[in-house]
């Protein structure tokens, strides 16, 4: 089988699916087509497909442990005028999500301790509805509170392949003094995220 054929096959396979396709599934397909004797390097083929789409309106990205075609991020403003987009998550929800992401698995009390305020039902509902957090068992303390963690949908939504793709805590810290003194102005989001300008969550 020619390299070209492999690329086309893998391209078609991943393109057909709306969900990320696991590398193992790609390897299986290639192996089935090639026979057992030939060695299969699914990742190499995927990277070749990725290269093929570099700079195009549609890109191949590795997210949530699989490969998925997505529209290029820079086209968002134009596309969202025609495509339906969900409401953005309010700051409280984003912060709660960040706490769960960095402290998982953690209980509601732990989340509240970090933010210093109680966690509103609305915020919890929002996060559960979007499927970004999921229960991960219970903590073996009196009351056995639910432990929360992030879901695969969380990785997919934020374009992460693994949880370890999140910035390390130290990286976040390093940015801080800078953020206070000279925090990258010019970043659009930065300005509107300033604590002073923030609108409260319902």
């Amino acid at each position: 089988m020619s390299d070209e054929t492999r690329i086309r096959l893998v391209e078609a396979l991943v393109f057909a699916s709306a969900e990320p396709v696991r590398e193992a599934a790609v390897a299986d397909l290639l192996q089935a087509k090639l026979g057992e004797d030939e060695a299969v390097d699914a990742r190499a083929v995927l990277l070749a497909v990725q290269a093929l789409y570099a700079g195009r309106g549609v890109e191949l990205v590795e997210v949530g442990g699989g490969w998925q075609f997505r529209t290029a991020a820079d086209l968002a403003p134009a596309l969202t005028t025609v495509l339906e987009r969900p409401r953005r998550l309010p700051r409280v929800a984003m912060e709660t999500l960040a706490i769960v992401a960095y402290h998982q698995p953690c209980t509601r009390t732990e989340i509240e301790a970090i933010r210093g305020v109680s966690l509103g039902q609305q915020t919890l509902d929002q996060l559960l509805e979007t499927g970004l957090i999921v229960p991960r068992g219970r903590k073996e303390v009196p009351g056995r509170p639910v432990l929360w963690g992030t879901s695969p949908a969380f990785l997919q939504r934020f374009g992460l392949n693994h949880l370890r793709d999140l910035p390390r805590r130290e990286e976040l810290l390093v940015e801080l003094p800078g953020a206070v003194a000279s925090s990258a102005p010019g970043r659009g989001e930065e300005a509107e995220q300033g604590p002073g300008a923030d609108a409260r969550d319902g």
């Binding site: 912060e95 210093g116 206070v180 930065e190 002073g196």
Partner: protein, 276 residues
């Protein structure tokens, strides 16, 4: 709820917002006391790890004291204020070394909490900056189902085969059983025929009705229920036939007492009536 102007000046980007502007803040613009503390700490424009806790406490207490909402402040704001006032007293007036140390530990804990909250805020902003699926980037809208269902195969197993056979056999077997003939008894019609045939030969004088009953061999048999039924049915049939003939005047009927034997004889004027 958006805060008053001085508050937005206090944001991280603001160059020189005087801390004195803080009292103008509407506290419920903040997500709790920690949020306000973090904001105040940022306004000091030093490394969060090196902020002056004392200054911070002063600022917080000043804000809370002058807050427009006054005593209507939520409990957590007041608890934080009380705790900070205590912390300030420990830091300012260490009456003994143990208390001083206690104060420093508490100050460090506060600092660490502010750092963590700050990190979380940063992480949240980082997440929000990522191109988000469904918000900034989109997956394939019309996914293709590359799947075909082949229903040409047959699923067969012995269990099915045997169950089917048993079901078929049981059905017909049951039908043989469940279809009993309706019991046929000696009918009035039968009795009428028999009476007409016999009455002229026998009954010129009174005889009992029983004499005209069919023999057991002539009575239809009834496999179900009481073996006496056919006999009683024949008697009833014969009585009705007798009444019928008496009505037309062919015979006369007589019964001496209730439940006594019914007697029968050919009527004196029978022939004409019978002919009619």
């Amino acid at each position: 709820m958006v805060k008053a102007e001085p508050a937005s000046d206090a944001g991280p980007g603001a160059a020189s917002a005087p801390v004195s502007a803080a009292p103008m803040l509407q506290l419920d613009g903040f997500e709790g006391p920690l949020d306000l503390l973090l904001d105040l700490a940022r306004a000091q424009k030093v490394d969060l790890a090196r902020i002056s806790i004392l200054t911070l406490v002063e600022q917080y207490l000043a804000v809370v004291r002058s807050a427009p909402v006054g005593l209507e402040l939520a409990a957590d704001w007041l608890v934080m204020a009380a705790w900070l006032a205590w912390l300030k007293s420990r830091l300012l007036l260490p009456d003994d070394p143990a208390a001083a140390e206690e104060g420093e530990i508490a100050a460090e804990a506060l600092q660490e909490r502010l750092l963590e909250l700050s990190r979380i805020g940063e992480a949240a902003r980082w997440l929000d900056r990522q191109p988000q699926l469904g918000r900034d980037v989109f997956p394939r809208g019309a996914a293709e189902q590359l799947r075909e269902i082949d229903r040409s195969g047959l699923s067969l197993d012995m269990g099915q085969l045997l169950a089917a056979y048993m079901a078929a056999c049981r059905r017909t077997a049951r039908r043989g059983v469940y279809r009993p003939r309706p019991p046929s008894f000696w009918t009035v019609q039968d009795a009428l025929e028999r009476l007409r045939r016999l009455v002229g030969d026998v009954a010129s004088d009174w005889c009992t009705l029983e004499q005209f009953l069919p023999s057991p061999a002539e009575t239809p048999s009834n496999p179900h229920g009481d073996p006496g039924w056919p006999r009683r049915a024949a008697l009833a049939g014969t009585l009705i036939a007798g009444l019928e003939m008496a009505k037309s005047g062919a015979i006369e009927l007589r019964q001496e007492e209730a439940f006594g034997p019914v007697m029968l004889r050919v009527s004196e004027s029978a022939p004409e009536a019978e002919a009619a």
